[in-house]
């Protein structure tokens, strides 16, 4: 018997090319049982290719795919203990909801009684009983999504693949379904492999996010790590909104494990989560908009600059402001703040501070 902490999935340097383009470049990855892993990236980054390779719909050019310790690289989709929620849900139109859900169970060779038992279980869990006799054409988008999920969960797969399953839903429903999906994943203890280009979806639901770009992994970590300590410029820009500060490394403060950098004459202190740069090197640092605080006098944060609000945008729950940094021509910062602070500060010069942990020095 396998150790329960053994990975459910291990990708051993898998590569995939389509003609001349490399869709996936030697991907190594392990997924632990019960993890909610999201592959996040723009279209063409290789996230969907990874999903289709896991499902068995594409063949790898090199590398191995291990599922529950067994090599499934050469197995067709019907021989893999993996099920998928398709982007368009792919609910068979000539079958009722119950027939759709029974399809995978019948092919597993279960007898009628076992199938009915499992159907009742999954339908009551996902509150689908009222729709059992309906066809896909008689369901709303949200209901279809749920049926597709139920159908994929019914055969009890080792790994559930989800191919942008919320893309077809309207914005309001999407938020609700995100919470629901996360709850379902927790209750079923299933391993979810979720693919999306939507950073909000990724941040809300995932235990772990793998950001992909041009067939390679940019960064692999928890949502918090990716958000606050992005490793690369790509990740910093792709997830959330950020200030990118270009400067030169002055030196490394070993005691506090801080990078000291020069930003057009101003000294800034940041942290380098993904590798310490050398002195004299040109670097870019990422500073999240909500990490900036406003002060009347010089704050005692390691980083402090004086500036003036030149533009404000009302966003409802908060304000976005653009700041012109004094003594540095053309240097601007963008910050989130509340409505009261903005009106109190007005057009007068103000001190802006942030701690060194908020300034992530990027590797590229």
């Amino acid at each position: 018997m396998a150790d329960p902490r053994d990975p459910i999935v291990r990708l051993d340097g898998i590569s995939k090319r389509f003609g001349k383009t490399t869709a996936l470049h030697e991907l190594h990855l392990s997924i632990a049982p019960g993890e909610f892993v999201t592959f996040l990236g723009p279209s063409g980054c290789g996230k969907s290719t990874t999903l289709r390779l896991l499902g068995g719909f594409e063949k790898t050019d090199s590398g191995r795919i291990l599922l529950e310790g067994k090599d499934v690289t050469a197995l067709p989709p019907n021989k893999r203990n993996v099920n998928m929620v398709f982007q368009d849900y792919a609910i068979f139109p000539h079958m009722t909801v119950a027939q759709n859900m029974a399809f995978g169970l019948e092919l597993k060779g279960l007898d009628r009684a076992a199938i009915d038992r499992r159907l009742n279980e999954i339908m009551s869990f996902l509150e689908l009983e009222p729709f059992a006799g309906r066809y896909a054409s008689q369901l709303s988008g949200g209901q279809r999504q749920r049926v597709a999920l139920a159908r994929a969960l019914a055969p009890d797969p080792a790994l559930l693949l989800l191919d942008e399953p919320l893309g077809a839903l309207d914005a309001k429903l999407r938020g609700q379904v995100q919470i629901e999906l996360k709850a379902i994943q927790r209750q079923t203890h299933k391993t979810f492999f979720f693919v999306t280009h939507d950073q909000d979806e990724a941040l809300t639901m995932s235990d772990r996010i793998v950001v992909m770009n041009a067939g390679r992994v940019e960064q692999d970590g928890t949502p918090e790590e990716l958000y606050f300590r992005p490793a690369t410029r790509f990740v910093a820009e792709f997830i959330g909104e950020t200030n990118l500060i270009d400067g030169t490394v002055r030196g490394i403060d070993r005691d506090r494990s801080e990078v000291v950098m020069d930003w057009r004459g101003i000294e800034l202190r940041g942290q380098a989560p993904a590798g310490v740069p050398a002195a004299g090197q040109d670097v870019t640092a990422s500073l999240r908009l909500e990490r900036l605080s406003f002060h009347e006098g010089r704050p005692d944060t390691p980083n402090a600059v004086r500036g003036r609000i030149v533009n404000r945008t009302f966003l409802g729950s908060r304000m976005a402001v653009d700041l012109q940094v004094e003594d540095v021509s053309g240097a601007r910062l963008r910050a989130f703040t509340d409505h009261d602070t903005t009106s109190r500060v007005g057009d007068a010069p103000v001190w802006i501070g942030w701690d060194s942990a908020s300034l992530a020095v990027l590797t590229s």
Partner: protein, 261 residues
């Protein structure tokens, strides 16, 4: 659209309707005339010609002979045509264009030419004229219609349906039988009815490849040669009603099925 052009179009339309239906109406009308001579005026009406048709064992036998040919050739065409459609819609292979062109060809060759060709070929192979030869010729002629209709339907099926079936544990055969075939059902029903009608209606191939037993169109033709009679009108009217009912039913049911999906 201006008022004038609308008036013009409706005149053209009604002229077309008259052009299309007046001959049919005349034919139907003459079947009820109580006289052997076809033409106006109709002095008295009768159903005797129709009763005659139902008592004529020759006509009844021929009707079922034609029906059997239509059903058998349709069955072959549908299987062949669907298989070709799946082959041509699936993954690319060397010579796909050639297969497509060859598949279309039987529908384009003029009937008389293909009939003569079939006749010569059948003799070379030692195939006797008769039911088998006619079924063979009809099946070959009808395959392209099935393939084209099924291909059109197949191209509208999202790729994810077959993938979802495979994902849930179906091998390619089960996927085809349980997911793809039901999706193609409306197209297959429509194509079947079309093939039945084409075969039932065919004269040239049946004439060249038939034996002493004629098909219905051949029987009507031979009856015509011995002189026009309202009995022919009655037979034709019955055939017209049957084919029209079948055609309209097929059209309506395939439209309904399309709407459901």
């Amino acid at each position: 659209m201006t008022r004038n052009s609308r008036v013009f179009l409706s005149i053209v339309f009604w002229a077309f309707v008259v052009y299309l239906f007046v001959p049919l109406a005349l034919m139907i009308l003459m079947g009820f005339k109580d006289s052997k001579f076809i033409g106006f005026p109709i002095q008295s009406w009768t159903l005797d010609w129709y009763l005659g048709v139902f008592e004529d064992t020759d006509v009844i036998g021929t009707f079922f002979y034609s029906l059997a040919i239509a059903v058998a050739s349709t069955a072959i065409s549908v299987v062949m045509g669907t298989w070709l459609a799946v082959l041509l819609t699936g993954r690319r292979f060397l010579g796909r264009g050639a297969v497509y062109a060859l598949m279309i060809l039987p529908a384009l060759v003029p009937g008389i030419i293909s009939a003569i060709a079939f006749r010569i070929y059948a003799r070379q192979l030692g195939i006797e004229p008769g039911m088998g030869a006619i079924i063979w010729a009809h099946a070959v002629h009808n395959v392209p219609f099935v393939t084209l209709v099924v291909m059109a339907r197949l191209s509208t099926q999202p790729k994810s349906y077959a993938e979802a079936a495979r994902d849930l544990g179906a091998d390619p055969l089960v996927t085809f039988v349980r997911v793809t075939l039901p999706y193609l059902k409306p197209a297959i029903i429509g194509a079947s009815v079309f093939c039945l009608l084409l075969s039932f209606d065919d004269f040239v191939r049946s004439f060249f490849l038939g034996s002493y037993q004629p098909t219905l169109p051949v029987l009507i033709f031979s009856k015509l040669r011995s002189g026009m009679s309202p009995e022919i009108n009655a037979i034709s009217t019955i055939a017209l009603v049957l084919t029209a009912v079948l055609g309209i039913w097929a059209e309506r049911s395939s439209r309904r099925m399309n709407k459901e999906n």
